[in-house]
Amino acid sequence: MIEIHELTKRYRQKAAVDGLSFTVEPGRVTGFLGPNGAGKSTTIRMALGLDRPTSGRALIDGRPYAELERPLTRVGALLEADAVHPSRSAFNHLLWLAKTNGLPTSRVREVLDETGLADVAGKTARTFSLGMRQRLGVAAALLGDPDVLILDEPVNGLDPEGVIWIRNLVKRLAAEGRTVLVSSHLMAEMALTAEHLVVIGRGRLLADTSTEEFIAANSGSTLEEAFMRLTGASVEFQGGGGR
């Protein structure tokens, strides 16, 4: 379970996350939605102890992330910016991660197989396509067989087969009773994947409800329509034709 309590992050004057509270329950996929700059990635970085909140708390199974022992066995995370040294091989990237938490080398081979990277395990990350890097990030998240998964835009850069693979993977992980939080901008994909939604705009909570209710409450026929209706007022970065 992930609990976000009154979480706030201020950069200079601007609040990236502003008094945000919500809970992510186990056993279902929770979609984490919001326009560009809404504060999704910032919330996730705070939940992982990477950024220090200005105020408020983020708890994983009742404890701050930083207090978890062998955290990779509790929480698996895919971060937005890929965090891999370009001249390190996929195998060695996963190997050093495994060592930090005392995981056996056999786990590295298992997640390489699971993510379809076994054949390129010895290749450096520099030679990887965007989709392969994304798969490597997912492999890192699965390494410790964690009960909580936090995936920031996992389908970003994946081909159609990869998108289906992530969809099925995420659903399977939730069906196994794990807590799964997935952020994405692909509404059609989210409608297929997420049973529950947490929607934010300008760092504040806009909705925390089941996907069905969300669509109905915002009188849309699709998730995309409902999303546009709800977040219209809190979009900061607008393309040509906007005000």
């Binding site: 992982l48 102890g49 950024d51 955290p71 910016a81 001249s87 060695n92 938490n101």
Partner: protein, 251 residues
């Protein structure tokens, strides 16, 4: 394995799994051996006996520029590639991650310095032949021991600076001009000597026999081991500042 032991094992995998490690450490060996050999070939047997160890010091002091680049790049790439986020997610205790990183860099540099220094010493002895520095003299041991401590601590010092500025490029831009002071002999220029002689790359000069205390031109206000003591203080201060910066900043 303890949590710190696991973190150090992981940092060692990081060090050995990028090609730049092999390249920079190989270059360090090549520069140190090459320069020592050239200086040794020009050795004049007519001077004081302990001049026979100077080619070793020259080679190591020039090679240190490359060794420092290794230490700085190893730390700096962690920040430039974003690996630091994966590292902190895996090892949330920042003190532990910092200690592991500094230990891995320190041990790698210490081992590389020991191997290269031994090779340099053997090469210089072979090149000079008669009149070469004998291992039975205290001044030989002092130069070798002092040189090894100097290279290792200076590298750890620069690695700590890289943590503070969180960038390879910025760290090298600040450090390399200062380190070039030694090769340019600027530490001896009268106007800046009162301060410059205490800079971290300068304080190893006495023990490496590049200067002696009290010499009117090249002299220093501290002894051989006093200089090493000052380097220990510099390193401790840099480690403390880097640890403090690592603890409080966002990843």
């Amino acid at each position: 394995m303890s949590a710190l032991g696991s973190a150090i094992a992981a940092e060692w995998v990081k060090v050995r799994s990028v090609r730049s490690t092999v390249i920079t450490l190989g270059l360090f060996a090549a520069v140190a051996l090459g320069l020592s050999w050239m200086v040794a070939r020009a050795f004049d047997p007519g001077g004081p006996a302990d001049d026979a160890i100077l080619p070793v010091s020259f080679g190591l002091l020039t090679g240190q520029l490359v060794l420092v680049t290794f230490a700085v790049a190893t730390v700096g790439s962690e920040f430039s590639t974003g690996t630091i986020r994966a590292s902190l997610a895996a090892v949330p205790s920042r003190g532990r991650l910092f200690a592991a990183k500094m230990t891995a860099v320190g041990l790698t540099v210490g081992a590389a310095a020991l191997i290269v220094e031994s090779a340099v010493f053997a090469l210089v002895r072979f090149t000079i032949g008669d009149g070469a520095a004998p291992l039975t003299e205290w001044w030989t041991i002092e130069v070798l021991l002092g040189g090894w401590i100097h290279l290792t601590l200076l590298s750890v010092f620069t690695a700590a600076v890289a943590v503070m500025v969180r960038s390879t490029v910025i760290a090298l831009s600040v450090l390399l001009p200062i380190l070039f002071l030694s090769s340019q002999g600027l530490g001896n220029v009268e106007a800046i000597k009162p301060v410059a002689q205490y800079l971290p790359d300068q304080v190893g000069m006495v023990i490496m026999h590049m200067t002696v205390p009290g010499d009117p031109q090249f002299g220093r206000d501290y002894s051989a081991w006093g200089g090493i003591g000052i380097l220990v203080l510099w390193t401790a201060a840099a480690l403390a500042a880097a640890w403090w910066s690592m603890r409080r900043r966002d990843a």
